[in-house]
Amino acid sequence: MGDFLNTMRVEWLKLKYYKTFWILLTVIAVCIPAFNYVIYDLTDNSFPKINGQNILGNPFSFPNVWSTVPYNAGILIFIPAILIITLFTNEYSFRTHRQNVIDGWSRRRFIVIKITEIFLLSLFVTGVVVLTCLYFGFITRKPMQPIAGWEQYRFILFFFVEMLDYSLVAVLVAMLVKRAGLAMGIFFLYLIIEQFVVSLGRNKYKVNWVDYLPEEVSDRLIPQPFARRILSPGNNVFWEKHIPLYLSIAVLYIIIYIFLLSWRFRKSDL
């Protein structure tokens, strides 16, 4: 345990004085609530009201806020991905991944600590999402309204899984490409191509295997929260039924990414 804490301390020393890390972390902490506020403002003021009720429902009130904020935050997952790619490719461009091993880390230790870092960053982003949920939930809360039950809290777990899924893909691309700019380009291109394949498959060719593609399956854990009963009334039952499958496949992808990262780093020349 002491050895692991020492390894964590080394990672902390790398980040402590790295301005880009703190700037991007601040951007994440600011953008998630700010972006949600923009959507909140839009839904509150730009849609017609029937009998005083917003046509989109109350997406930012308890309990709906527990799915609305994670859904919106999911759109911003590219920001932590940029941070992750920057941190990982730094090691390659400074060749410090080699030096850490030369100085006395095993390759396994290096990759385990990087994956731990991604878990911690994902926890941080999830924490920001939780705080944002609480903020909007409380400012729109009506008297005696319950905050939530497991049905709603699970969206926080789903967001964490989605965040891990995207982050690990970002690291995998960074490890293969080694250069920050190129890695970011390929990562975004990959996301766009996958979305293109999903749209084409679902809408033109009517095939459902596209729902299980790596990022799509984690996206499907948090369906769009606005006016669900009006826009897609049948989908709720379908979604509830498929949640265990989506979650299992998303976790399976996470395990595969971790295996690939570990295998690649341990078996190749540095």
């Binding site: 400074f94 060749r95 091993v101 006395g104 880390w105």
Partner: protein, 300 residues
């Protein structure tokens, strides 16, 4: 003498290119072991494998008689190719990372920075350093925790002449402290001044290894001069130990059967023959000419 590093049939291939071909040798404890060879001969590949940043295609190696582990590497100070540090961190903070990885006290940072004359710049960022300063910082990182074994790959890269002389003196001092130093270089004059043992690589093949004199056939000869050169020559040809006498200006180059001639004995012999020497010097083939001779022989 206890072997510090032992290589057995170490090979490395990049596709069809064989960078290292079944190299085996031992580095004795307390030696300054030069790994010599022209650029592309496999020196850095070899050191990369024993530092665990490259994976060997074949063969094995041991450190201190045991299979390699991360704990062993913490007891070895290694500078491989280029100085690798976090550009956005200061010298002090970079060395704090190295010390933490090596499980060495951060209190040692001041000592090593003073040793390489970087203490005054300890708070400057690595990216602001000149190439020579970066190299000196890498040497400081190697010295953290006072390791018993040091591995230097081209340690004088980027240094000015006084910097080269300082590092050479540092290596001599470290060796005098009983440390084992493995030094890869293509600068033979640099190696000649400090190494006790060598391994010579050419195109990934180990040509020779062992102590410097025997490995490089650095034979010695005497240069003799006298006011009566005729009489001196007559006396010398009578000695069965002599293999060759070459006239060279106002003195003779005299070669002996043994690699290291006994100058005092020759002086005594000449004096006994009524010849007073006015010139007597022990000469040695330079490492460079011995190396070129050896590598040319192999190429041919």
């Amino acid at each position: 003498m206890r072997s510090i590093l032992s290589l057995k049939n170490l090979s490395k291939s990049y596709g069809r290119i064989k960078a290292l071909k079944e190299v085996s040798f031992e580095v004795p404890g307390g030696s300054v072991f030069g790994i010599l060879g022209p650029n592309g001969s496999g020196k850095t590949t070899l050191l990369g494998i024993v530092s665990d940043v490259l994976i060997a295609s074949g063969g094995t190696y041991t450190w201190f008689g045991n299979p390699p582990t991360e704990n062993q590497r913490r007891e070895i100070g290694t500078l491989l190719e280029t100085p690798n540090f976090y550009h956005y961190l200061s010298a002090q903070h970079n060395l704090e990372i190295t010390a933490a990885i090596k499980h060495k006290p951060a209190g040692d940072i001041e000592r090593v920075l003073k040793l390489v004359k970087l203490y005054e710049r300890k708070d400057s960022k690595f990216q602001a350093f000149s190439l020579g300063m970066k190299q000196r910082l890498a040497i400081a990182a190697c010295l953290l925790g006072d390791p018993a074994v040091l591995v230097f790959d081209e340690p004088t890269n980027g240094l000015d002449p006084s910097g080269i002389a300082e590092i050479r003196q540092l290596i001599i001092d470290l060796s005098a402290d009983g440390k084992t130093i493995i030094l890869a270089s293509h600068l033979l004059a640099e190696v000649e001044k400090v190494c006790t043992h060598v391994a010579i690589l050419q195109q990934g093949v180990l040509i020779k290894s062992g102590d410097v004199i025997s490995a490089l056939s650095q034979e010695e000869w005497l240069e003799l001069g006298s006011s009566d050169m005729e009489k001196l020559k007559e006396a010398l040809v009578r000695l069965p130990e002599i293999t060759k006498i070459i006239e060279s200006g106002n003195h003779f180059q005299v070669y002996f059967k043994q690699a290291v001639p006994d100058a005092a004995w020759v002086n005594h012999y000449c004096f006994g023959q009524g010849i007073v020497l006015n010139f007597l010097q022990v000469m040695k083939k330079s490492l460079e000419s011995a190396f070129i001779e050896l590598t040319n022989n192999v190429s041919n």
